[in-house]
């Protein structure tokens, strides 16, 4: 899976550079997030701006990251959801689980509050 990972203060920004987040590549994302957790990076923003399609496996990978972050007293927040992707979160009610922001600036700033 193609991602860009940057550290911004105490928060890690993961930008997904794939059009699809599905059963083919979601385990890669889970693995990349696990590596970051093992490095003690427990606050994350996942930027989905470039993602046009997400299936239940992709949602599952994000839930996995959210649970891992929470278990380590951190948080995983989302930003940049395209309308069809956002509709998937609403369909599965996961929009009530994640904090979701329009863009990465607002998501990163929310960790300072």
């Amino acid at each position: 899976m193609l991602t860009t990972i940057e550290s911004r203060d105490a928060v890690t920004l993961i930008q997904i550079q794939e059009e699809r987040l599905d059963a083919h590549n979601s385990s890669d994302l889970k693995g990349q997030m696990l590596t970051l957790f093992e490095e003690g990076k427990n606050n994350m923003v996942v930027d989905l701006q470039g993602v046009r399609f997400v299936d239940s496996s992709g949602l599952g990978a994000l839930v996995s990251g959210f649970k891992n972050a929470s278990a380590r007293n951190g948080n995983l927040k989302l930003c940049g959801l395209q309308p069809q992707v956002e509709s998937m979160f609403e369909l599965t009610r996961l929009h009530r689980v994640f904090e979701i922001f329009p863009d990465s600036t607002q998501a990163l700033d929310s960790f300072q509050e």
């Binding site: 083919h24 949602l59 599952g60 839930v63 069809q84 009610r93 009530r96």
Partner: protein
């Protein structure tokens, strides 16, 4: 709507082909010129249910059958889209799947719920040593 289309697809039993099958469904939906609703939304939904159904079939394929292609059919007829995805495995408990709840942070188990929500009729039954997941969508 007068279109009558039948696609009979054999596709490798690998997640690397989810995108291809999803795109075929997407193109099919976009080609339904007399569909009165939002064709782009229909295309996204058909891409999604095909992706979920194929990923499910791959997951439930018996090890001895892994090298065999997956069989998928798409039929547009009588103002109805019918998709059938065949698997070669033990199957799963189709009827007893709970609806996702916000407090439920399970990493799996949302695929069939998504299919049932987006399609009008869904069934899963034994067929020829495996199973077939049949999904219908009314197109008018």
């Amino acid at each position: 709507m007068s279109e009558s289309i039948f696609l009979d697809i054999k596709i490798p039993n690998e997640t690397g082909y989810l995108r291809l099958l999803g795109k075929i469904g997407e193109y099919l939906a976009q080609s339904l010129e007399s569909y009165p609703g939002d064709r782009e939304e229909l295309a996204y939904h058909i891409n999604l249910v095909l992706t979920e159904a194929m990923a499910n079939a791959i997951q439930h394929t018996a090890d001895a059958k892994r090298s065999e292609a997956l069989h998928v059919t798409l039929r547009v007829e009588n103002r109805k889209l019918t998709i059938k995805v065949y698997d070669q495995g033990q199957g799963f408990d189709f009827s007893n799947l709970p609806e996702p709840h916000p407090s439920c942070l399970a990493e799996h188990g949302r695929g069939i719920f998504i299919i049932k929500t987006l399609m009008d009729r869904v069934s899963y039954r034994k067929y020829d040593g495996g199973h077939v997941l049949e999904m219908e969508k009314v197109l008018f």
